[in-house]
């Protein structure tokens, strides 16, 4: 029987995981492209988007990304202790908050996996239960890190190719504004389908919340039924995140997108959804925002528009730094906790 303190930590972890699921929904901007076209009424769009993200999270909760973060990334026989999971969450939250205050867009996925690595390294060194070499499933960890580099690149390539193909065989044949308007009206409905598809895979690939819960399942703190119950709760909170909190950012972004063409949104969302789907099916947690940024760059280059490489370079540095800094921060926090015997 777990001690009262451990029980308390488990409850805190479940609450934080549900909170994370809410924040995943709250930070999701995917719907703005759809709202910008005026295809659906705002509240209906939020409802559909929310249901899609929640469903994606629930449907794939039995494995995939949650299993990778919560279990597969660790070495054979190693499971998370509740204190390790708590440290992982505290560290990634601190790093993300610092990033927000500094105005740096950071990936919560990179931050979480970085924190896991930092905690596990310190754990293996201080506890001497397992050596650092055996503390990780290096194949899995390597695939995850590689996927962070390849997923944006694939997003870029797919968007570029999709646009070039569509432009060559269809868009370039539209001569007048009336024809273009008519065609874009059809794209508006295809965009709706693409956004629902994208939202499902955004939910499915958001391994932060369910990864923590899977860790609790893996170490025996949660029974299977309890895990699925909380996974459903996470799905509902992701829905609420979109419906209650994301509406402001979606409305704001959508108002800036009234000039953008649904065909462009369709290509960008389809490309990012394909990447997210493939990554999820391989159990690889990737950053949705990184993929979207590269899809937009792919679109700009295909349209021979200018790209702000200076800004991109700055963003790239923070993307690369997120993982090691999160790992370092998590390692320091975990070491401090173990030094003061908090855990």
């Amino acid at each position: 029987m777990a001690s009262d303190f451990t029980q308390l930590i488990i409850v805190v972890l479940i609450i934080l995981a549900i909170g994370l699921a809410f924040s995943i929904g709250a930070n999701d901007e995917t719907l703005s492209a759809l709202v910008g076209t005026g295809a659906l009424k705002f509240k209906l769009a939020l409802l559909i988007g929310g249901i899609a993200i929640g469903s994606g999270m629930i449907i794939t909760s039995g494995g995939f990304v949650a299993k990778t973060v919560g279990s597969d990334i660790l070495g054979k026989g190693l499971t998370y202790s509740t204190s390790m999971l708590l440290t992982v969450l505290i560290s990634s939250i601190i790093w993300l908050v610092i990033g927000s205050f500094a105005g740096i867009p950071l990936s919560s996925t990179h931050s979480l996996v970085g924190s896991v690595v930092g905690v596990v390294i310190v754990y293996s060194i201080t506890q001497e239960v397992v050596s650092p070499e055996n503390a990780f499933n290096w194949d899995k960890l390597g695939s995850v890190i590689l996927s962070w580099f390849f997923s944006p690149l694939f997003g870029f390539v797919i968007t570029y190719l999709l646009f070039r193909i569509l432009a060559k065989f269809y868009l370039s044949r539209l001569k007048g504004l009336n024809q273009i308007e008519k065609a874009e009206r059809s794209f508006k409905w295809l965009l709706l389908v693409a956004i629902i598809f994208a939202e499902i895979w955004v939910g499915a690939n958001s391994g932060e919340a369910l990864g923590i819960l899977y860790g609790l399942l893996d170490n025996g703190s949660l029974a299977v039924q309890e895990y699925f119950f909380y996974a459903v709760i996470c799905g509902i909170f992701a829905f609420l995140g979109i419906y209650i909190a994301a509406r402001f950012v979606i409305r704001n972004l959508a108002s800036q997108m009234t000039d953008s063409r649904p065909s462009e949104g369709l290509i960008i969302q389809t490309s990012s959804a394909i990447i997210l789907m493939i990554a999820t099916l391989f159990g690889l947690p990737i950053s949705h925002s990184h993929v979207i940024v590269f899809c937009i760059i792919g679109m700009n280059i295909a349209q021979k528009k200018e790209v702000e490489y200076k800004y991109l370079g700055k963003m790239g540095i923070f993307w690369i730094l997120t993982f090691p800094i999160a790992a370092l921060l998590a390692g320091i926090i975990y070491f401090s906790f173990s030094t003061i015997s908090f855990i």
């Binding site: 076209t37 005026g38 432009a167 060559k168 868009l171 370039s172 539209l174 001569k175 007048g176 504004l177 009336n178 024809q179 273009i180 308007e181 874009e184 009206r185 508006k188 009234t258 000039d259 953008s260 063409r261 649904p262 349209q303």
Partner: protein, 222 residues
Amino acid sequence: MIENKYDEDELKNKSINELTHLFMDIIHEQNILLIEGIESLVKNDFTKFKNNLECVAQTTTEVQVKKVFESKIFKAKLMFSKADRLKLFSKINDIKNIGEYLTNRMLLYRVIFPDNEFKLQLSSILKSLKLISNELTIAVKLIGDDLEKAYDICEEIKEERRKMRMEEWELLNRLYNYDMDYISRTFLYLKNMIEDIMMLADHIKNFSEYIQFLSAKYLIFK
């Protein structure tokens, strides 16, 4: 001749595109009346000059079309071109505003041209103005169906405007350096007239550049 009043229901049944075309036609017709009025002045036909210009100053049918357009555009299910169509309409309206300003200024005084060469040069400018006004009307109507063709026509407008500008400076030069002195009112009248024609022609040129911007924005080249 410009219709005095349109049937309100008939206007309401027209699409955004059709209303834009109708509005352009009305403004173009007024422009032609104005230009032909000035041509009559050059030929010392004061009656036709006065009739034409008064017709331009008094016609308000475009206001009727404008009101229907404005009420329709906000409800229109156009997605991304709404702002551009609104701007297009306001640019057509600006032609009317400039034309009206020019008309009212020209009606202030009854001028007699002292110099035949001046008359010839002015006629040539008016011919070019008529040409670019015609071409602009065609370009505006092509926006809905063929932006590429509209782009090419606008290129021709810009070329004609370049030619016009040189003639206008020559005309002003002639005005300032004429052997005999004009009476001050005549000088001022003719100077203002040339400058107002330049202003109208410049607006047409800027408008054609805007159409080219729309072509570049919306057309996706292979």
